[in-house]
Amino acid sequence: MNPSDRLECRDLACLRGERLVFKGLSFALRAGEALRLTGPNGSGKSSLLRLLAGLGRPAAGGIAWNGASVADDPDAHRRRFLFLGHQDAVKPWLTTRENLAFWAALHGAAAAGIAPALARFALTAQARLPARFLSQGQRRRLALARFAAIPARLWLLDEPTTGLDEANVATLETLVAEHCAAGGLAVVSTHLALKLPGGGGLALADPAKADLAPAGPAGARAA
């Protein structure tokens, strides 16, 4: 990990259909920091994470990594981050281990990291079990185990705690803390009071109530 890594968003605006979800959104994140994204339903947390993952283009503004716009070289950007949306992307007909192994291979990560990643989220006993027998919380853990198995500099997590019990929320917090201590960056949307290193928070406002008048969300950190 590079200690000078820096993710910067300037004056981002996002359109969803015909509706403006947010505008004038600016924040910066340095190596070792995690950004906690909060806000009511529909305030654009998922949309922002999808923009950061290149799954959609901002209606205005730009995203930069170490000063260079990510839109100029999306392939290089995709090699930096690991993204998990609110869906688990778990195939019920593959075993727990095969599911994780697929994502690791897709990202070119070492197969040696798979077993420890499963152990991390207490899925070792289910490793050979088809994923259709997993509970919802176990599926979520299997999805999160990707972050333990695949090295990436920027983590993008969309409500990772959905369906997790307390012990596994703690595991996730530790994992993010270790990632940041090693110089990684993370953006995590959540409704929980997750303990994240760096302590940065970004509260998105409800577009219906805020009428989008205040340009920067209240909790936005100064760049």
């Binding site: 999808r50 609110h86 007909w93 593959l94 697929f102 990202h107």
Partner: protein
């Protein structure tokens, strides 16, 4: 860790990983291949009831029946090509992965052809027997299907990507894709008929080969663009 190290293993490994996963899923679920083959057999065996069971009549229309049935059978499974991945969030993961999306689409097409197109090719001589196809036509039928069915998959992938998220995507897909299948149908049937009457069928096969090469080069790229559009 360097960007480069992830990249090199990610691109080639991504294609192999996706191909292995899709084949494994197809093998375990099994239903798609079985449905396609059953459809193929049923459609072909309906024709003797419709046009009459005289051997001469069947031999005359046999090539057309086999090709149209193969085409419809391939179409039947195509609307699921990206749909399952789209619904469970896997597609987002594929789009956000460092592997080249064009290669990932190619991997999905290859898996689709191996699990539906290839079984159709293997089954076609048996059904040709049922339709009393003249003996010299068999090589042309098999060679034509070997070259033609991957084209059906590749063109279909573009349509399958375009109709993602649409209601009644399967119907829309047929309307979008079937007209594009006409050239493959013309030269596929042309090869069989030429062979049946003792003429050479090299030209038709070369044209089908040309379609395949063009589809291999263009279709994954176009489908990848459509997939990115679908995710936005």
């Amino acid at each position: 860790m360097s960007d480069r190290g992830i990249d090199r293993s990610g691109v080639g490994g991504g294609l192999g990983a996706l191909l292995r996963r899709d084949l494994r899923l197809a093998l375990r679920q099994g239903s798609d291949t079985a449905t396609v083959l059953a459809f193929f057999v049923i459609v072909v065996s309906l024709f003797p009831f419709g046009v009459g069971a005289e051997p001469q009549t069947l031999a005359a229309v046999g090539a057309g029946i086999l090709w149209v049935a193969a085409l419809l059978a391939a179409l039947l499974s195509l609307d699921r090509l990206f749909q399952a991945d789209y619904e469970d969030g896997t597609l987002d993961g594929l789009l956000a992965a460092p592997a080249a999306l064009t290669l990932l689409v190619l991997a999905k097409c290859l898996a689709h052809w191996l699990t539906t197109g290839l079984p159709l090719v293997v089954l076609s001589p048996l059904l040709a027997l049922l339709l009393n196809l003249p003996e010299p036509a068999y090589p042309a039928l098999i060679a034509g299907l070997v070259l033609g069915t991957p084209v059906l998959t590749l063109i279909g992938a573009i349509g399958a990507a375009l109709v993602l998220g649409a209601r009644r995507g399967g119907v829309l897909l047929s309307l979008l894709i079937l007209p594009l299948y006409i050239p493959v149908l013309i030269f596929g049937v042309g090869a069989v008929e030429a062979a049946a009457t003792g003429q050479g069928f090299r030209a038709q096969l070369l044209l089908l080969g040309a379609f395949l090469l063009a589809a291999l080069a263009l279709a994954p790229f176009v489908a990848a663009v459509a997939l990115r559009q679908a995710a936005e």
